[in-house]
Amino acid sequence: MRVLVYIFFIFFTVFKAFALNTVNVEKQYEIRFNKDEFITDIEVVDSVLYVLESNKDNVLIYNLYDGRLKGKKFIGNFHSLISFKYFKSDWYVLSANESSLVMFDSNWNHLKTVKIDAKDPTGIAFYEDFMFIVDNDGQKVMKYKLKNLKLTQQVKGFGFNKNQFRYPFDIKVDEKGDIYVSEVINTRVQKFNTSLKYVDTIGEWGIKKGQLYRPKGIEIQGQNLFVTDSIMGVIQIFDKNSGKFLGVLGENDKILRLKSPYRLKVYNNFLCILDNFEKVVYVYKFK
């Protein structure tokens, strides 16, 4: 009997050591889109949720708090818009197939279209006077001077090692100017400093906690680095400085499982997640 008690103790201890931390969120609402609407990115500015409709070159504008559609803006005839970002009163939109950056003012009036040295730009981020763009097919991350849109630095290469990429997709910058780049096939997040010097690697190949199978969108909230996985269907949370797995998004202490989470956005206490396979945007609140 003592032996059985001992075994139970050991098992309890081991499972406790492997116990999963869920960061609970509560769904506020969801926005579903039609079959012929293909959504590729979301952004929140001043409590307004912007949704980029790629195939129709529309920006759909919703009230973040209640999901009420405020308007729809046709922004021009482009091909394959894939990501956008609001920075310093201007909108920056990436057109993947055209390898171009399209700029608009805050009211979506077209300012200019700039060709960039990228095969397939898929992510964009800003820090101070610099703009960072991920080139998915080009296997690189580029740093542009925002003032003149001149390429100042880049880290490039196809491979498994650090400073190399296999299909980098999303990019975020933290408050210190560190760059985080998700890689879909290398199944990791590489961290660089503002000068694009390698700092760290977060996540690894696999399907266990802290591992990534098909990482896509990333987002930073304080020390937390959120990473979506479109096959596992979960959003994992890492410590952005140590790279340590912190937990997984949950709902009522259960893992939040989505069909194919793609990009995500944290705004104050809100978390917006785009599932572009299901063609839905979920809006949660952190508990």
């Binding site: 998915n136 479109s230 396979f277």
Partner: protein, 976 residues
Amino acid sequence: MFISSNKIPILFCIFLLFCLSKSYSFTGQESAKECAICHYEWMDSFIYELKGTEIVDYQKDRIVANERMCFSCHDGSVADSRLRVWANDMHKVGIKPPSNMKIPNELPLENGEIQCRTCHTAHGTKDINKGDIGRSVFLRVENTNSQLCKMCHSDKKGHYNHPESKLNSKMSVSRQLVENKGKLGDDEKIICESCHTPHGPKGKKILLGKIGNSEICSFCHTDKLDSKKQYKKGVLNHPVNIPTDNTMISEVESLGGKFEDGRIICLSCHNTHKGINKELLIVDNKDDKLCLTCHKNKVSVKNTSHDLKKKKGFKNMFGQTPDKYGTCSACHGPHGWGVNLPNIDTDLLSKACLSCHKEADIVGEKRIFKDRFNHPVSVEVKNSQDLPLFTKSINYFSEMNKENNDKFINCATCHDSHGKEKNFLRAEVKNDFICLKCHDNKKDILGSKHSLNDITCLSCHNIHNSENKYLLKRDIKDICVDCHNKNGVAKQFIPGENSHPVNKIVHDVIPDNFKLYDSKIQCATCHDPHQPGKNKKFLRINFSNKDDFCISCHIEKNGIFNSKHHDQKKKGLCENCHVVHNSFSNKYLMSIKWDYNNDNDYCEVCHNTNGVAKNNIVKVLHPFGTIKDKKNAIKENLSCISCHDPHSQQKGKNRFLKYEEDSFCFQCHKDKKEFLDSPHNSTHFRDMSGKFKKENCYLCHDIHKRGETEDAVLIRTCESCHSDKNIFGNNIIKTSHIGMKDEKIKDFYTHNGEVVCKTCHEPHINNKYLFPSNILKSYQLCISCHQKEKDVLYSEHNMSLIFKDKDSVCDACHTVHNYSENNKYFYKKDVDANKDFVKEICLGCHSENGIAKTKAINIYGHPEIPMTFKLEKDLPNKFLFKKNGEKSLTGNITCATCHDVHKWSESHDYKVTENTEGNVLNSFLKYKGIITFCSTCHGEETMLRYKYYHTDKLRKEKYNDKKKRKKTFMELLIGN
């Protein structure tokens, strides 16, 4: 060495923990990753431990090639197929294939369902022959010619399917097909993917385009549909994408046809995969079932002569017989005419009709001859009322398409080729005056005399095969007379022999209201047989009076209004003199009965003693006759109308002259044109007297002279001005050469042998003295008559040498005008009537104060004694001069008795030098006759006296002695 049984559980737990914590070490992570990146189910936890992990559930089933797995990379994060595959519809996945579809083993299903892997494999296409790896898009089977599609979709066999052939020459791959990722097979043949795409179709049934508006068909059938999906007209193309009525839709749908939004589309008649024949029709159209389902009103064509099933051997341009392809097929092809027509934008309908109706062996007597006149087609008309019009590019079905604002006429406007009426005329055409449906501007003919007695449009016109213009049955010059003759229907309205000319070319422009025919005037020039007009005379324009009608063309006659020829009390000014038809004269179409023989008769008819213009009769006329040109050909017959235009009073001071007065006469009298520059041009002195205003030739000439002779008028005319102090003041002519007679004047004009003004003057010429143009100097005029005095030119009496004025040869002593009435010989200076005239005029110069003072006469000549002559009766008349200067038998001997002032000597060799001292042979002496003359009185002393007086020696002695200067010759002689 043995482990106790109670430790076994402990060891198991340790092993288990080890396995849990180090599971990856069994496999080697990276080596598995390249496969597991898609084969999710092969992840270690799933495949070895048969369980999930902390964060994912156990994945028992394969998801390697399901849609989500493919999407996880093709969402733009690795490959970008977002919009191509997932933004629209796609080939069905996640469902089981229909029971009648056999899926070959090469195309695996997933749990019996179609998945991406059914067609695709990441491991590459098997046995690629012609396609490249890029095109195969990881398909399991090469699909360059739809091989893959047909492996499943074999049920399309057994029907007539859309042909997999090359596009014909009229078709082309449109831009839309390329943009929508449509593909052609080998040799550019149509394949499944030419219309369908498994990913990102725009239309239903994974079609590249929508079936609505026939969009998908338009991608290749560019010969039938344009880029705007509008059916192309002008090729007899059945319209599509236009609304049609619900009854028609339901009937065609019952046959298998499809409609979109109530609009007819290509699939209304065709089925691309279940066609009943190779034309892919939904039903067999042998008996025109498909056509007549909608076009029920066309069934009437059956069994008519247009049902060419009756015509043996007839084939349309495709070689199809009506027997096999239906009655409609004779004219209508599947998408165009059944007859061979040019591929141009023109009236194809009429051309289609003519394609048969020009062939006698097809239509017999209904043949239309192209070289004859036929009713025009393809022309725009404003109104057809009930008759149909067509678009310029005619398509057969345009009647159904009323919104086109069709406005062109063609064969089908009058004919309904499907009708049962005679000649296939439309029902509306039964009316004899059907022409008026379009020609509504001719509708006034109804109720007119031209619509009586069964007269219809066709009484004068042939619609087809007319041999005359305007589709007339007769030439336009004859067509009216056919009725309007003494035996015709309109015999009471015949133009008569004397009528307004017709069939003559008019070179002038005539008003638009009137019409010329080949530039010729015809009856229809003035008459519009379709418009009776207010006066029922079918005159072309409505006018307030007849005069306006005439003036419309004869605008140059407009000046007659309000002239003296316009009797305002009478209506109809023109017809006072003229009548258009049945006139009394062939020339000028006079309405007044008169014996018209010459041109003046047309004036005299009024301007005669009994005529209406009896107060304005011309007694004597300007000479008539003919004006001839240089070749002596008659240029003009002079008559009243040579100068007068009875229709224009305005010119020539209301004298109906043809030209303005100032230039009128010069139209003929061109040689007098210099007059205008001459002093006689009255414009030079019009202001001098009111009577000369705007007068010129008329100042002197009166063309019609009122009965006076010409010369008398002439003299009177000069005098009338040159004696008028109001005009010339003190320069009036009081005395002149006029009236003198001389037989020697032969080459100059005289009146009854007398000198008149015109003898010396040409009044129309522009020189100082109005001398004839051949007279350059005045003396030339004088010596023209005064030949004897011509020698003065060679004497010191040629004063032009003295005064250095070549014009003063005669003028120095003479003037023909305004000499003193007492003077003789036109001597210009006044001479005291109490003195010896001849002596005075000689001593006028030959005196100490005279110009000839060097030859002053101190002792004046012969004593004044009466002479009586016995011998030569006429001689004294030459030598003796009365005191007043007249030559007279009772005259005295004076200077001119011995001297001829105009002749220095007999010889013309004399060259004048100043103060030549002469001798007896010259010195202006009348040498030959004077001796005889003197001897009559002086007898033997004649020579002595002559020498004394004419010899320097004797004379000088006496005359130089001043004391004896006053002694006469006789005293000296006696004294000697």
